[in-house]
Symmetry: C2
Subunit: 344 residues, 2 copies
């Protein structure tokens, strides 16, 4: 049952079967399964191909699809130095009775860094295959289901690419548990005593909030310098150690805009695999209205009226500003506040 | 304004003033401020002393207070190899006009590992000072305000103790930004290009959820092997890369109990500095009721009736099980469900 606030990147078409990860024999046999799908990533970009606009009419932008490989097609790449294989899960759909081995289809991600894009692209039998060039643009063109798979795959591969060494002693660490754990190669390292987060993928919780004016008819939006010109979005920031969600919302809003806020309501959440954030989306009501932006991070912040937000969500000539794309939780928070349905 | 769901460890009596962290001169001058408070930690345990029960009557267990040091009292310790100093923030209360320098009181945490406890305890002029021996017990005896300060301090110090090396290249890293950042000592390291989470404290988001029976009159609680005998609590688990909060709730409940759940509601959150979790507390409704525990993690799981939960929260001879202490978010979720006030 899809909630009204289901966000892009948060679909879970696969059952992760985390208990199976330590079972190397099982993982190896699933990897070789006749129906198994392997996704190829080059420096954290998945191989994909563009499709013609789908059938749903004018609102649909160009869609892309992930390129799918079988074990045979990429077997040699598994042995390349620096390659990382991650077991993503199995499809929740029961396999058709005709399925070759009666097992649900397993999915893996294979990450490669040192190979050339050309060498990898040559393996695709599909025309126009390419590697995503701009994650913030290209990864937003996938179907909801494929986006959900990429969210897990890209976050875990990004962790491997930045955490190849043990942070406790500096030794090299090795991949374990089907790509979901790293263990220090030094047997003397204290990381082997007890369970520590150093061995597990990192997820960074972030608060992102729509600040509502005390008069309830306006919201506070801001611009970072890196935004495309004309775009405004919700304020957001990393949750710090020792903070609850609500305290992080209060602190980040004050830091970035000078505005003090009161109560906080959770709305929805979204994994954001750039590289591995968990966006926690909230609504909050301001207690002060004077804006005083933190020039380091925010270029400009401004109160926008409900009408301005509606016009901007609808796009067209009356738009007061550019809204973030519909795949972002900031966009969903804006829609939520205006009371427009997610399909508008 | 304290929300009904304000949780232990989540008070923020200090303004973190994160923008000041890179300003070394400012930080050094606050460190030497005549009113400044420095907390001493030995292997992640704060120095504290026990107090007689407070005045609030029968329900109050023994309280503890943090030992506070001035710059002069610990100046020499700042130079010890391996010591880490973290700027925690300044008091939100305006200083009294009599305050020596008119500045709000600044707080720091000083973490030490290799000194002996005795050497450090000798510096305290207060009797019965000691280092917390069991974080899960001793840190729950602080006032709400001191617990909030310790939440930040212990999480950040725990990060320094496990992340002394650059996870990207294995070199030693150095402390920067008043204890809130680490940078790789190797100038050639790619971690210096762009902004990466490898340089910032880690916070691990965890979902913790009270699963309500489809008949709405029972809840599902479980026991880990390490729990004191008779204790049952909410199921909980780390959010994985690529998951939203709601998906993590569904996955962890199914993994740990075999129960399938439908809608999920966020209730409240709590920082848990053992070592650095963010507990995201939810309520969810089960769609199936048969229990099938994951023997690895959960020893036993069971449906409890509303009456059993109420009797157990009240304690005494009719308790069906031992509830987790009131300082835990699991306890607050149970209270929330029964509709009892937090002060019961
Ligand atoms: N986990 C993290 N990953 C990246 N940047 C972080 C992280 N934690 C704190 N930061 C800092 O936070 C800044 C972004 O600010 P904000 O998102 O508002 O918290 C970055 O430029 C970093 O200086
Ligand atoms: N960040 C983390 N810190 C510690 N353990 C983790 C982490 N992520 C995953 N784990 C694993 O999760 C187990 C606890 O299960 P759960 O809390 O139910 O997710 C631990 O024993 C570890 O094997
Ligand atoms: Mg920000
Ligand atoms: Mg921040
Ligand atoms: Mg910020
Ligand atoms: Mg668990
Ligand atoms: Mg887990
Ligand atoms: Mg679990
Ligand atoms: Zn190590
Ligand atoms: Zn490095």
């Amino acid at each position: 049952p899809q909630s009204p606030h289901e966000t892009y990147f948060s679909a879970e078409p696969l059952d992760r079967l985390s208990a199976k990860r330590p079972d190397q024999d099982w993982v190896r046999s699933r990897l070789k399964g006749p129906q198994t799908v392997i996704l190829l990533f080059h420096r954290l970009s998945p191989m994909m191909r563009d499709q013609d606009g789908d059938q749903e009419g004018e609102s649909s932008a160009m869609q892309s699809r992930l390129c799918r490989f079988s074990h045979k097609e990429v077997e040699d790449l598994l042995e390349r130095p620096g390659s990382v294989l991650v077991f993503l899960g199995v499809e929740r759909r029961r396999p058709p009775p005709s399925a070759a081995d009666g097992e649900p289809r397993a999915w893996f991600a294979l990450g490669l860094d040192s190979e050339s894009e050309e060498e990898l692209l040559k393996r695709s039998c599909e025309k126009h295959s390419r590697f995503a060039q701009n994650a913030h643009r290209d990864l937003l063109r996938l179907s909801e289901e494929e986006a959900g798979v990429v969210a897990q795959a890209r976050s875990v591969l990004a962790w491997h690419s930045r955490y190849s060494h043990c942070s406790t002693c500096g030794s090299v660490s090795r991949v374990e548990e089907a790509g979901h754990k790293r263990s220090c190669e030094s047997q003397a390292c204290i990381s082997h005593k007890g369970v520590h987060n150093t061995c597990y993928p990192r997820v960074d919780p972030v608060v992102i909030m729509l600040v509502v004016h005390p008069d309830q008819s306006q919201v506070l939006l801001g611009r970072k310098k890196v935004f495309p010109s004309g775009m405004f979005s919700c304020l957001a920031g990393f949750i710090e150690p020792g903070e609850c969600v609500e305290a992080a919302v209060r602190r980040e809003v004050q830091e970035e805009s000078g505005v003090l806020v009161g109560p906080v309501w959770y709305v929805c959440s979204q994994p954001w695999p750039m590289p591995s954030s968990l966006m926690i989306g909230c609504l909050t009501v301001a207690m002060t209205t004077e804006i005083n932006v933190d020039q380091e991070e925010i270029e400009e912040a401004q109160w926008f009226t409900r009408q301005q937000v509606v016009d901007s969500l609808l796009g067209g000539p009356r738009a007061a500003f550019t809204v973030p794309p519909r795949q972002t939780i900031a966009h969903q928070l804006l829609r939520h506040w205006t009371g427009l349905s997610a399909n508008l």
